[in-house]
């Protein structure tokens, strides 16, 4: 009567084992976590006011180069502002945009993708055409136009990213729902008497959730890059708020005298984007066998 016993298969713990055994999840997640902590505690961590100018101390090199100034670990910019403090506050902007924009794009895209995939018919036709039209626009151009129309500012950047990138979620979720809705558990749910929306959100969505998590991580990386581009061309937050893109733009002007000024925000950008992509990649491989079980 072996079949009456309960198998000791890995349950929820199995997911955690898979996640923890994945080096990319560890590495990527660790670096992303570090950035998140820096963003969260930016006011506490920053040694100086990022806006405070000391014109006597402009373009100071970082601590490990000759001629550095004590207290300014990464040196100062052309207006004598502390680079470390500006990087830390820039991290906050980058992560706020990443989380909120990816969240908004995800919410919109997942909702439309779920509806298109599950309801089919004219709902699917409408949403799919919309996606086709949407992806035909060049994204960078579209984002610049959007921000120009909405006016510069953090909210415009976030809206622009969400408005442009919801299709990434919608397309993938729609395709996955098409697979999921033919699964036997959906037929069972119908037989049990669950309504369409209840099946969509209570039964199908949880099964698509790991995929959405992966997309969300990848989208955060894209949002960080877009925010940097827009702040580089001066279309992001008000110019008195430090951003990585703004710092890159400032550093570009003195690239021969003080190359570190541009290299440091670029380094941060690359580190965060790589970490997010590694995390997304790791999550994808770690969650996949769980998905298909």
């Amino acid at each position: 009567m072996a079949e009456l016993g309960i198998d000791r298969l890995p349950g929820r713990q199995g997911v955690w084992v898979a996640l923890c055994g994945n080096a990319r999840v560890w590495g990527g997640g660790g670096v992303v976590g570090l950035f998140a902590l820096i963003a969260l505690f930016a006011p506490v961590l920053a040694p100086q006011d990022p806006l405070w100018q000391d014109l006597m101390l402009y373009q100071m090199p970082p601590a490990w180069l000759p001629g550095s100034e004590p207290g300014y670990w990464l040196g100062t910019d052309s207006l004598g502002r502390d680079l470390l403090s500006r990087l830390i506050h820039g991290t906050q902007v980058a992560l706020i945009v990443a989380v909120v924009a990816a969240g908004a794009a995800g919410a919109l895209g997942v909702l439309l993708g779920l509806m298109a995939g599950y309801f089919g018919g004219w709902v699917d036709a409408l949403i799919s055409r919309l996606i086709d039209v949407w992806v035909a626009f060049p994204p960078v151009l579209l984002s610049i136009v959007l921000v120009a129309v909405l006016g510069a500012g953090l909210h415009s950047v976030i809206i622009a990213i969400a408005v442009i990138d919801w299709t990434r979620f919608a397309r993938v979720v729609r395709a996955e729902v098409l697979v999921q809705k033919e699964q036997d558990y959906v037929a069972s749910a119908v037989t049990i008497g669950l309504g369409r929306w209840r099946i969509l959100f209570g039964e199908v969505l949880p099964n698509v959730a790991p995929l959405v998590l992966v997309l969300f991580t990848m989208e955060m990386a894209i949002a960080v890059i877009v925010e940097t581009i827009l702040s580089f061309v001066g279309l992001s937050v008000a110019s008195d708020r430090p951003t990585w893109g703004g710092m890159i733009a400032e550093g570009r002007q003195v690239i021969y005298e003080a190359p570190w000024m541009m290299l440091m925000p670029i380094g941060c950008l690359i580190a965060l984007v790589l970490a997010l992509n590694a995390l997304g990649d790791g999550l994808k491989t770690a969650l996949d066998p769980v998905l298909r079980r």
Binding site: G5, I6, G11, D184, Y185, S188, L194, E203
Partner: protein, 288 residues
């Protein structure tokens, strides 16, 4: 059989795009009886079950014919009304217990949902009823099983849960779509016995889909042999299997293992025969 059948399917055609999946199928299930439906893979057995339950896959539709359930016509019935019949009227024991329970929900959630939504029970009553049902399908320690996720149970256990869910609303008709195919042999036998036991106890009519004539002989009262979406042979099990009229049924019988027939004397169904039947079926035209 003087009683009106619980289910009467007549001249049912189901199409998927340009393809006819069912070609004029007729069959009936009498109250309290088990009607077997046999045929090779792809014959259209599941399509019949899905048509009856109103769960046809996207794109497939009934193009002709009638399905009467307790005297009520189901073809052309609005989907809402059809779905309302599920649970208390008719229900399904699915083929694959691995995929028929949502992997993200505990067993308890599945069972309570069906009892609350279909039977209108409140939480506590539903829970008590769920425990009684699990007990009825011989699951030990029902309390613990309610807390499990589907993948923490073996295939046989999951099938027992699904059987309990099917009988939960005391339906008039159950479509059992190859309920033992995904299980290993010893477990198959126990599940068969369990279904028969509950069927007799509750007096439920069952449309039992299988590709195993041995199973039909064991638990069915009548049998319908299906090939390429059409009926080749039909009747009480004793007649249809005792003195089969159609060459295909005879070939199927010769391919079925039995205690008095060692495996090495079995003959597979000859390919030319199935091919000829397929060609014959494709030539059939709807209408009339």
């Amino acid at each position: 059989m003087s009683l009106d059948p619980v289910l009467a399917v007549e001249d049912l055609w189901v199409e998927l795009g340009p393809l006819d999946l069912l070609r004029g199928v007729s069959l009936s299930v009498a109250a309290g009886q088990v009607a077997g439906l046999v045929g090779e893979s792809g014959a259209g057995k599941s399509m019949i079950g899905r048509s009856i339950l109103g769960l046809l896959p996207t794109g497939a539709r009934v193009s002709q014919g009638s399905i009467r359930f307790r005297g009520r016509e189901l073809v052309g019935l609005p989907i809402r009304a059809h779905r309302d019949l599920l649970g208390r009227g008719m229900t399904l024991i699915p083929q694959d217990p691995m995929t028929s329970l949502n992997p993200v929900h505990r067993i308890g959630r599945h069972m309570l949902d069906v009892l609350r939504l279909r039977m209108g029970l409140d939480r506590t009553t539903a829970r008590t009823r769920a425990l009684a049902l699990l007990d009825e399908v011989h699951i030990r320690d029902p309390e613990a099983v309610l807390m499990r996720y589907p993948h923490e149970l073996s295939g046989g256990m999951r099938q027992r849960v699904l059987i309990a869910m099917a009988f939960a609303c005391e339906p008039a008709l159950i479509v059992a779509d190859e309920p033992t195919t995904a299980l290993d042999v010893t477990v198959q036998r126990q599940i068969l016995r369990l279904i028969k036991e509950l069927q007799v106890h509750h007096g439920t009519a069952i449309l039992f889909v299988t590709h195993d004539l041995g199973v039909v002989a064991k638990i069915c009262d009548t049998v319908t042999v299906l090939h390429s979406g059409r009926v080749l042979e039909q009747g009480p099990v004793a007649d249809a299997l005792g003195a089969p009229q159609h060459a295909y049924t005879q070939a199927l019988l010769a391919a079925t293992p039995r205690y008095d027939r060692p495996a090495d004397t079995l003959h597979p169904v000859p390919a030319p025969l199935t091919e000829a039947l397929r060609v014959e079926a494709t030539a059939l035209r709807r209408g009339g």
